[in-house]
């Protein structure tokens, strides 16, 4: 793998080298080809968006990155190494955190407990030590708790810390899900339609949080979004997919003027 240099964004931020590279990814379900021969990369510290109309294969792509799907053909390189086939929980332990399109939270648990589960990837003490609440396990719990409180403060959900998640409104649930992913201090944060189903105000809040997270923690973010306006404002580079193929890739301004992209969004007979 060639170590590409970083680049400088339009607003003057320095972006690092390649963190993850997807090479010639094809995904088939039986006879249906969900993704065909797509390659792109994610640089360290950037906000990378994947957009496209319904059924374009965006979520499948995210599921490949997070290990929920295994590509039929193609390779995934992460931190300069080829990633072998892995289970989702193993991918999570390598520093890939994600949120889901249809919120996947632990509804019966409090906000605090939900966010604490985000720290599971940082758990080092053995089960035995934990069962006995022993030295290292206890220190770890305290350290985890500190990090979690920091995230909770950052996303401004202090006032609902002890509320069971099942009782929260949709917009807040989305934010709790983001908090849980963030608590893992991920190398890559995957957001599956973070703004889906939100009103304008909630969308603005969420956009602000995503930008702040990237800015404050330097987290690399890869997000899928329907809403073109939001994506163009947020992201540094955009991949456009349509019918499982990549039809555009580049900074928002460049993609916006791409004829294929305009066709895909406005609808041209295929």
């Amino acid at each position: 793998m060639t170590e590409t240099e970083g680049y400088v964004t339009a607003d003057g931020r320095q972006i690092g080298g390649v963190l993850m590279e997807l090479k010639d990814i094809t995904l088939k379900f039986g006879g249906v080809t969900a993704i065909s021969d797509i390659s792109f990369d994610i640089h360290e510290g950037e906000i990378r968006a994947i957009i496209g109309p319904n059924g374009a294969g965006k979520s499948s792509m995210l599921n490949i990155i997070s290990g929920f799907y295994t590509p039929t053909i193609g390779e995934l390189w992460y931190k300069g190494k080829k990633r072998p086939q892995m289970k989702p929980f193993e991918v999570a332990r390598m520093g890939v955190a994600r949120t889901f399109q249809n919120i996947a939270l632990f509804e019966g648990m409090t906000v605090l407990d939900n966010v604490m589960t985000g720290r599971l990837t940082h758990m080092k003490a053995g089960i035995g030590a934990q069962a006995l609440w022993w030295g290292k396990a206890r220190d770890e719990e305290v350290a985890n708790r500190e990090k979690v409180e920091e995230v909770i403060d950052f996303l401004e959900i202090q006032n609902i810390r002890k509320t069971p998640v099942g009782r929260l409104p949709y917009g807040l649930k989305k934010r709790v899900e983001l908090a849980r992913a963030l608590a893992a201090e991920p190398s890559i944060l995957l957001l599956d339609e973070p703004m889906a189903g939100m009103n304008v105000e909630e969308k603005e809040d969420m956009s602000r949080f995503i930008l702040d997270v990237n800015d404050e923690f330097g987290t690399t973010i890869c997000l899928i979004e329907h809403d073109m306006g939001v994506v163009m404002d947020l992201s540094d580079r955009v991949v456009v997919m349509d019918y499982g193929k990549k039809i555009g890739d580049g900074p928002p301004d460049e993609v916006r003027n791409n004829q294929d992209v305009i066709d895909a969004y406005l609808g041209v007979p295929h």
């Binding site: 289970k87 994600r98 632990f106 589960t117 599971l120 069962a131 849980r180």
Partner: protein, 317 residues
């Protein structure tokens, strides 16, 4: 008649408070065992949505293994450790052979699978250890056999040392489990897994590890209950019944609720004893303990279908 139901029992309670205490104490002893075994059910249900029909037979199997190992000439405490090992192997095999191939199947299929495990353990247990009744090795384990007699208000209160040991050990185990579930990351993982498998995977929880862990915990609970109940009633396949007593406890407490299991267990243990002594024996000819818990659960379910502590199901459209 009404007097016999509403007045006489309470008058009896007040006139002989020492006897009332005795009844409450005995209720507490069974109650804490019910609570413990119900916890085994709740743990497995919360982490995998499986209603573990095999919990009862696991009690028998653990007790049989312990007694059987000791009969082979192995010292008592080493037998306990070995039995724990057997329960761990059992947990791993159940996860490997039964649960893993059935991931994602409807709940009822997993439930049927646990019935299969039950039949397998009954058969296996009989082949290995024989079907005849055995005596729990309580003496060899150092469980005290005497009793302490107290005299509150000039009356008489007999506390079996066995019962005191049971209460102390079971309470400690319940407390330890509660702390483990609520204040450790692994405990959180167990609770999380039951809520959402996908989300659990995405935060790095391994289904397999958690399942082996909860089945092993259920095995430990089975061993402790097996020793305690076996010491009182002998070790036989009839021990399985204690697990069925946990069913009304679960109905009362709700399948998801850990606090519910504990409070439900204590409630049923105490109420069934009280009912038996003050209403059952004088009015109904006794032996009400076999059915009282189920009727109580039924009545509760009529008014609160989710149980006393179950998660309220709110459908949002």
């Amino acid at each position: 008649m009404l007097k016999d139901i509403f007045i006489t029992p309470f008058a009896d309670m007040f006139s002989a408070p020492d006897f009332l205490l005795q009844v409450l104490w005995e209720g507490l002893v069974s109650g804490i065992l019910y609570a413990l075994i119900a916890l085994g059910f709740v743990l497995i249900f919360r982490s995998s949505r499986i209603f573990n029909f095999a919990q009862g037979i696991m009690v028998v199997f653990a007790a049989l293994t312990l007694v059987g190992l000791h009969a082979m000439g192995i010292p008592a405490w080493i037998s306990v450790v070995l039995t724990l090992g057997v329960m761990f192997v059992l947990a791993v095999s159940i996860e490997r052979i039964v649960l893993r191939p059935l991931v994602g199947q409807p709940d009822i299929i997993l439930f049927m699978a646990t019935i299969g495990i039950t039949l397998f353990l009954i058969g296996g247990g009989e082949i290995i250890f024989g079907g005849e009744n055995k005596v729990m090795i309580s003496e060899e384990l150092g469980i005290p056999t005497g009793d302490t007699v107290l005299e509150p208000w000039g009356g008489l209160l007999i506390l079996q040392h066995l019962d005191i040991t049971v209460v102390v050990v079971a309470t400690a185990l319940v407390a330890a489990l509660l702390a483990f579930l609520n204040y450790t990351q692994m405990g959180r993982a167990i609770r999380a897994l039951g809520d959402d498998h996908q989300a659990a995977l995405s935060v790095g929880i391994s289904l397999q590890t958690v399942w082996v862990l909860v089945w092993f915990i259920a095995g430990i609970i089975a061993l402790v209950t097996g020793i305690a109940w076996g010491a009182r009633a002998g070790v036989s396949f009839a021990l399985e019944v204690i697990a069925y007593k946990a069913l009304p406890v679960l109905m009362l407490g709700g399948l998801e609720s850990i606090t519910g299991a504990i409070i439900g267990g204590l409630m049923i243990g105490i109420l069934e004893k009280l009912f038996e002594i003050y209403w059952g024996q004088p009015l109904l000819g006794g032996n009400t303990e076999t059915w009282f818990a189920f009727v109580l659960a039924l009545v509760v379910l009529l008014f609160r279908p989710q149980g006393l502590f179950g998660e309220k199901i709110i459908e949002r459209v």
